[in-house]
């Protein structure tokens, strides 16, 4: 497990682009944690004398929005919400997918066949439609968005883990352990799970931006996060209304989403090669 993590880090170090992306992501994560904590402004207080201030004005690094709310704090608060939704949804998908896929791979036979047919059916339903319906019925909040994304998008992970488990089961060292009399639980815990780690990590690197992507799609449809809180997607779709007069209101969140998504994808691609 640690060996793969080490070689992934080495692989990232080799490429300048990947290093830049890693630093960018680290910066986004730190800023989204500390800016809302430490700033003297907050994301909800309004200042109606100072609406639509352009960026770099005194006290408002990214300017202010239609209610005079400080855009700098709002953007980083939004990044915090988007990242949280992305990471939590991806982690839950990972847990559901790993358990389901692992179970299917270990059980094998008829059980595997049935479990995988169920995955096939879920996989061929257009996920985003179900996500839209769930958030519409249950009301929009970070919790429902995460719930809806977790229960629809885990099928990819389960296929990866199942494939990996099936492959590992036939590997010589697992066979050797079996011959030496290792119990089934020991084989699963010591041999199968650690060796699934790599593919799971790669899949996770792609499911985080996938979840952020889906969340911003929902925000655009008005099903995302409730006001006055806002994810980056909400900020961008709010800023859209003022695009011809105050373009920075949309451009800054858009720039951050775009670079974050690209960074995740580049890092995912880099790790995949290990």
């Amino acid at each position: 497990m640690f060996l793969t993590a080490r070689s992934a880090v080495d692989k990232i170090k080799e490429s300048k682009l990947a290093v830049t992306c890693a630093f960018f992501l680290a910066a986004v994560i730190l800023l989204s944690i500390f800016v809302p904590l430490l700033s003297t402004n907050n994301y909800y207080s309004q200042d109606l004398n100072n609406t639509f201030q352009p960026p770099l004005t005194k006290g408002n690094l990214f300017g202010t929005d239609e209610f005079g709310r400080d855009q700098f704090v709002r953007v980083w608060q939004g990044a915090r919400i988007s990242l949280t939704i992305g990471v939590v949804a991806a982690l839950i998908q990972m847990i559901i997918g790993s358990i389901y896929g692992g179970l299917s791979g270990i059980l094998g036979g008829l059980a595997d066949e049935i479990l995988m047919r169920i995955v096939d059916v879920i996989h061929s339903i257009p996920n985003l439609i179900i996500v839209i319906l769930i958030t519409m019925v249950m009301g929009s909040s970070p919790f429902t968005v995460i719930l809806a994304l977790s229960i629809t998008e885990w099928t990819g992970m389960s296929r990866v883990v199942r494939g990996q488990t099936l492959m590992l089961r036939e590997m010589e060292f697992v066979q050797a352990a079996k011959v030496l009399g290792a119990k089934k639980t020991r084989i699963i815990l010591r041999h199968i799970i650690p060796n699934c780690f790599g593919p799971i990590m790669v899949n996770l690197m792609f499911s985080i931006p996938g979840a952020i992507f889906a969340e911003s799609f929902l925000s655009f449809l008005g099903l995302g996060i409730n006001i006055p809180k806002a994810s980056l997607g909400t900020l961008a779709s709010e800023g859209y209304r003022f695009i011809s007069y105050y373009p920075w209101l949309i451009m800054i969140p858009v720039l951050i989403i775009t670079l974050t998504m690209i960074s995740f994808n580049v890092l995912g691609d880099t790790i995949k090669e290990v």
Partner: protein
């Protein structure tokens, strides 16, 4: 072959049934009663409405009537606008969305394949870097961002510059609307962008892979021209993985059209879908969801079957 097609169709039927059942279950959890929201309604009228929507019947009865209605093609009635059925909305708006979707699909396939091919042939050259950048943006940037940026920079800024330059009021790329050919260009390109990126990337990888195969090397050693090798020997095999991607890509284009139609004010099904979400027209959203899922499942089934004709190996 016939066996495979029957199996595949049966599978898609199960999928559609699953979608329908999920939507039915969600329908039971709808918040509040749509009839009692704004005004106080006379109890008798409320009764009539409930009877019309069969809200009093036990769930299994409602489920069977729901299924029966769906088989007949009755997707329900709008809850906000009286006398407006889901089917009538689909009839009016779906052709527009289909038109937009097909345009985007054609752009994505042709430009994507071309870029992927050139990128593989001229690896690490300018065209390769250009393609990789485009495909990275296409994969990583959400559709509504691409749509708004295109609208702002091409329809608003660029057309504005052209207007100033020529001194006329002629707008090369109209900002919104769906009237003539000029209106379709920017929305189709923005809708195609994501799929285009994926196709280019897939084509590039698969072409590079194919070109390193032994039969290509032997063709080269026999003295065939590069163009002949690529067009006659490599292209057919390199294109196969891309074909398997077409179904999912068409799905992403259909869902992307929800957003693009809103940005460019195109009166298609996607725009209606989003408006229905915003006005709380639940039955409309559910009906349109079922229809969209049906289209998506059918397209995927069709491309899967098509794929077995193109590549008989998958039947085994």
């Amino acid at each position: 072959m016939v066996c495979f097609i029957i199996k595949r169709l049966a599978f898609s039927l199960i999928t559609i049934w699953a979608v329908v059942t999920i939507t039915f279950v969600l329908l039971q959890f709808l918040p509040g009663d749509p009839f009692t929201n704004d005004k106080i309604v006379h109890p008798q009228i409320l009764e009539n409405l409930k009877e019309k929507y069969r809200l009093d019947a036990p769930w299994h009865e409602r489920y069977t009537t729901y299924l029966k209605g769906l088989i007949k093609g009755d997707l329900g009635i709008s809850m906000v606008y009286r006398n407006r059925s889901v089917t009538s909305i689909i009839k009016r708006t779906f052709p527009i969305s289909l038109n937009l979707g097909i345009r985007a699909f054609i752009i994505a396939v042709f430009v994507g394949l071309l870029l992927g091919l050139l990128s593989a042939l001229y690896k690490n050259k300018t065209i390769d870097h250009f393609t990789l950048t485009i495909s990275m943006i296409g994969v990583a940037v959400p559709g509504f961002i691409i749509g708004t940026l295109f609208q702002y920079f091409i329809c608003y800024k660029l057309s504005g510059i052209i207007q100033e330059f020529t001194g006329t009021t002629f707008r090369l790329f109209p900002i919104t609307g769906w009237e003539g050919f000029r209106h379709t260009i920017v929305p189709s390109v923005s809708l195609a962008f994501g799929a285009l990126g994926m196709i280019a990337r897939m084509m590039r990888e698969s072409m590079i892979n194919t070109l390193s195969q032994r039969y290509i090397v032997s063709a080269k050693s026999k003295g065939l021209k590069q163009s002949e090798i690529v067009l006659k020997h490599a292209l057919k095999n390199a294109i196969l993985p891309v074909i398997s991607l077409l179904g999912p890509l068409f799905t992403s284009i259909i869902l992307g059209s929800f957003v693009i139609e809103n940005i460019f004010s195109i009166p298609g099904m996607g725009q209606h879908f989003v408006t229905s979400i915003k006005t709380g027209d639940y039955t409309m959203v559910l009906g349109l969801s079922i229809f969209t899922s049906f289209v998506v499942v059918m397209i995927n089934t069709f491309t899967d079957i098509l794929y077995t004709f193109v590549d008989p190996r998958v039947r085994l």
